[in-house]
């Protein structure tokens, strides 16, 4: 079983609608839905990346509720999902944590609703999927909230995944749906 794939949900730095760099709010469903999806695909850790102190402590309180509070007894599945969910201030801190665990820097995979020069197509995705399963590098998959990760972060990426297309022109999936589909395409049974 692959054990060194990490996923980060980035609340800063991301763009807003007007392409300003902002910090977005954590939503409760980002914590729950993505923790459950990560657990299903055996992601090593899910990092919620948020530098705002009040947001950080609220997020930690929610995670603790389902880990140690009433929630842990009420719903064991949720407790299990939240075991690997952590909160970090920045992408840098998230990468440092991975390096500490894995003894090397993770390979960075980002996703975007836009196409970049170094974006990889759907067919190249299955090659990447094989590579992820066969080599022993740690990987960090980064997803942006708001209107997406800043160009600065995209420039740091080893791989950029193409925007998800269903079978229509419309491609404005929620980040929760995008995470689910990409993990299934990369790591799912097939």
């Amino acid at each position: 079983m692959r054990k060194s794939i990490y996923l980060g949900l980035v609340h800063f730095p991301v763009y807003n609608k007007n392409v300003d760099v902002v910090s977005t709010s954590v939503t409760n469903f980002d914590i729950h839905d993505i923790s459950r999806t990560c657990r299903t695909y055996d992601i090593s850790q899910y990092h919620i990346i948020i530098p705002v102190d009040a947001q950080k402590s609220l997020t930690e309180r929610i995670i603790n509720y389902w880990q140690d509070g009433f929630g842990a007894n009420y719903n064991k599945d949720r407790e299990e999902a939240f075991e690997r969910t952590k909160v970090y201030d920045s992408i840098k801190k998230s990468i440092e944590e991975i390096k500490k665990i894995e003894n090397k820097n993770p390979i960075l995979i980002t996703t975007s609703a836009k196409i970049f020069n170094n974006s990889i197509s759907y067919s190249e995705l299955s090659e990447l999927s094989e590579k992820i399963f066969s080599d022993d590098n740690p990987y960090l998959l980064l997803f942006g909230t708001g209107w997406g990760l800043t160009d600065e972060i995209m420039d740091l990426s080893d791989y950029i995944l193409n925007p998800i297309r269903g079978n229509a022109e419309y491609n404005h999936l929620s980040v929760r749906s995008a995470v689910s589909i990409i993990l299934d395409r990369l790591l799912g049974e097939n």
Copy 2:
């Protein structure tokens, strides 16, 4: 382009944790995330099935906000996503509506986190996917909230999809994630 695939999110009748038949609450993210996913995969209509009047009118108010209210101007993508989102009292009403549009009864596909005698496996899924694209029957994909669709509804199904496995034992995805992954497996580019 396939134009007669419908998706229903069922709030009643579903099981709760203690296997009582209940009606669950509509959550805002069920409306937003699933409308956006349905639009991405070109689903004809997304039916939110909820018999409770107060819940029904709240749901309709949220949809209208993004269709006609402030939201429609603020976010055109969301307006587009919500164009095909409708609220119905019951599965029966949802099927009647589809029959009115398509002039025949839809083939019923349900999904479950449990395995039934007539569940179909992942490899049979791609055959079903081809069938969906090649025949001209309408299809209705039903997803249960809470602890899943009642056995009575499962008995009515033409196809039951196997629970989604990632690459771990854990399979407690949110219904929003399950919808995303199943639509991608059935209808996505590949």
